[in-house]
Amino acid sequence: MADIERHSFDVLVVGAGGAGLRAAIAAHDAGAKVGIVCKSLLGKAHTVMAEGGIAAAMANVWKEDNWKVHFRDTMRGGKMLNHWRMAQLHAQEAPDRVRELEEWGALFDRTPDGLISQRDFGGHRYARLAHVGDRTGLELIRTLQQRAVALGIEVFMEATITRLLKDGDRIAGAFGYWRESGRFVAFEAPSVVLATGGIGKSYKVTSNSWEYTGDGHALALEAGASLVNMEFVQFHPTGMVWPPSVKGILVTESVRGDGGVLRNSEGRRFMFDYIPEFFKAETADSEEEADRWYEDKTNNRRPPELLPRDEVARAINAEVKAGRGSPHGGVFLDIASRRTPEYIRRRLPSMYHQFKELADVDITAEPMEVGPTCHYVMGGVAVDPDTGESAVQGLYAAGEVAGGMHGANRLGGNSLSDLLVFGRRTGLNAAYAAARLKQRPAISEDDVRAASEHALAPFGIEGGENPYTVQHDLQEVMHNLVGIIRTAGEMEQALTDLASLRERITRLSVEGHRQYNPGWHLALDLRNMLRVSECIARAALERTESRGGHTRDDFPATDDSWGKINLHCRLDGEAVGVTHEPLPQMPDDLRELFN
């Protein structure tokens, strides 16, 4: 295997979304030699799809806001299953991370006194999301991308990592291929940061792009790390439902933050019928109070449309099931009757554009049709909150691929701040750890050879399964059996189906050659998707309660005893196993915030 292209770095970052770029910048600042590997072109990562904003208690709009309020909102939104330390660091450090972006050229919308403006979002007590219209993710990624380019950080674009390489028990590097040529490349690096995002492509209706095949989750599992909270998958309440080709594309929560309301086919604002006990005290119970809240937050309670995403998604699901849905199987999201066309076009330019171009709907004149779409996985690699290191020495994770921060449900706006806060932390710590090493780990030639044989396997099979068909079948299984509402019987069925899919992916065959061959790429990605799907199904079957992004029809109540338990997925040979582990307990001074 001497002919394989090789590179050596102190820190190798896998993924070039917000977390990956922020980690790379931090590692570079800490003096490390950094390389970034990403599946797409630089600047195309899924972060560009984030619309609403970056949650940070900067108190630019509401003086009452501070990190403690943000921490409390995050924990409550996560149904208290978050790792308290991650939620604390996140709330404390997010404001600085936002200001830093400004120093690198980001142009946020402003308040009248020239500070960064902040907008309302579901689950947040105060208007807290720093934003740029409804394209905040694009601003974030472009800013970080331009910063990384200015620092001269090396980027390997359109390259996919298929294996992590170890030296004994610790990380030694990674192996992958160039999409463009199909040639292999090996990276030697004592610290590897996974920042590969989520898993949404295993679901049929999703807001996620093709890249979201759970690569980092699967790589970490195979390297020996554990995944935590995998049963919690967030279905965003508002995805497009029509036309079919765009089903699942996100409709930002800012539509509701800026005054949009949900109605069923009878014209009723049905969210008032779905306010859970847990949030009753802080949610408006009349339309009048809800409407006053936009102007006066001190004396009024929040509209129920701005409940955390899991609540809203379930409510929409229930309305559609009860036969009160819109013509294409969603509900109506109406901002046209509540705000002026100028306001809508200024605050929500991409939404206006998206509906106009893709659905022929003018959102300033008519309501949108929306329904739940698979959006985010709360679960991910279990990491140390302060450093981002996983159970495997030298393996780090940040962003969506890391678990713990969001508990059972993520609040809107908390993901962009998560990327920045933990991207920076893992980048720094990955660099420090590499610098502390006395002897660099080495990658073994046998591992490289095994990895390349593994990657080439689909070319050796004639007349096998079509990867596109298998992907389609996998998406059906996950959508129908491990979707937004779950039961034991369906999930057992899912596990049986996944087992047969696991058998089918050993017989995938691809046509053509190695150069930019999407069939081959999908064949390799499918292995990851399947592993992650199995984790989700097993953990979801195990947790016999409903909480946040995990709703059991057979166990509809939240069970306090489950509130002290995290489920961890690990790989044992080829089998996925789930273990119960105690939830880390927060210190008393933080606990007091909830009394």
């Binding site: 797409s40 072109l41 195309k44 919308d109 402003r110 740029v132 601003e139 079509n466």
Partner: protein, 262 residues
């Protein structure tokens, strides 16, 4: 309602290729990218096409559809007649890799030559202050999704390969303009816009604006204002005198990043 769409898709690589005929069933509301995906899934599993978000936000699926640079995910099939053949080719300004995928590394090389944002120091309270009217100009340019359709359509490099050495293209004039108009930036990038980015090569024929999927007024709001700023700096004797005699309009010259200068 559904019908069978006739397509011609360019397949091949740098050594050669051809338009290949496909007939693919399509449904109401679909876009060109849906049809390409259906070809991949049912007819040619190795058809190479670059895409990501399929919502017009990432700028990956840039191709030429019936000869026009477009995003495949934002080109609805309803814009064609039912019997019409839809021809899809790779971008014709960049080297082809395979099928519809081109090597757009030229753009990333140019990006490395743009001097970074150089803000003034933070005020004592740590909070930069900018007014909405001042950030709005730059925000228009930062809507850019880097689909590189403007670069593709620009005849300066589309029709003259050799100009790639001395010309940055509309996408990067946007970047120069954004930094020149940034309320906090402290550098003068006008000399570089002329010498490094080659803004004089642009003859403002506006095709970049015509193809921009984000509707950015590239020519009117970025390129022409940059040309006028270059005139202030290099061609207008009155502003030249003003600078020399009254010491007005004096900011440090931006430099091409050292690490990238070679």
């Amino acid at each position: 309602m559904g019908y069978d769409l006739k397509m011609k898709v360019w397949r091949g690589d740098a050594t050669g290729g051809d338009l290949v005929d496909y007939t693919v069933p399509v449904e109401e509301g679909e876009v060109v990218l849906d049809a390409l995906h259906r070809i991949q899934a049912t007819q040619s599993g190795d058809l190479a096409v670059r895409w990501n978000c399929k919502a017009g936000k990432c700028g990956s699926c840039s191709t030429e559809i019936n000869g026009k640079p477009r995003l495949a995910c934002m080109t609805r099939l309803s814009t064609f007649e039912e019997g019409e053949t839809v021809t899809v080719t790779p971008l014709r300004t960049f080297p082809v890799v395979r099928d519809l995928v081109t090597d757009v590394s030229y753009n990333y090389r140019v990006a490395e030559t743009v001097p970074a944002f150089a803000p003034e120091p933070r005020p004592a309270d740590g909070q930069y202050r900018m007014q909405q009217v001042d950030v709005e100009r730059g925000q228009e340019f930062r809507k850019c999704i880097e689909c590189f359709l403007c670069q593709d359509v620009c005849h300066v490099i589309r029709d003259h390969e050799e100009n790639k050495q001395s010309f940055s293209g509309p996408r990067f004039f946007l970047r120069y303009a954004e930094l020149e108009m940034h309320p906090l930036d402290t550098n003068d990038r006008r000399a570089l816009a002329r010498e490094q980015a080659g803004i004089g090569l642009c003859n403002i024929t506006k095709c970049c604006t015509d193809v921009c999927p984000e509707g950015i007024h590239i020519t009117d709001n970025a390129i022409i204002p940059m040309k006028e700023r270059v005139v202030d700096r290099s061609f207008d004797p009155v502003t030249w005198l003003g600078r020399k005699i009254f010491r007005r309009d004096q900011l440090p010259e931006a430099q091409v990043p050292q690490a990238r200068a070679e």
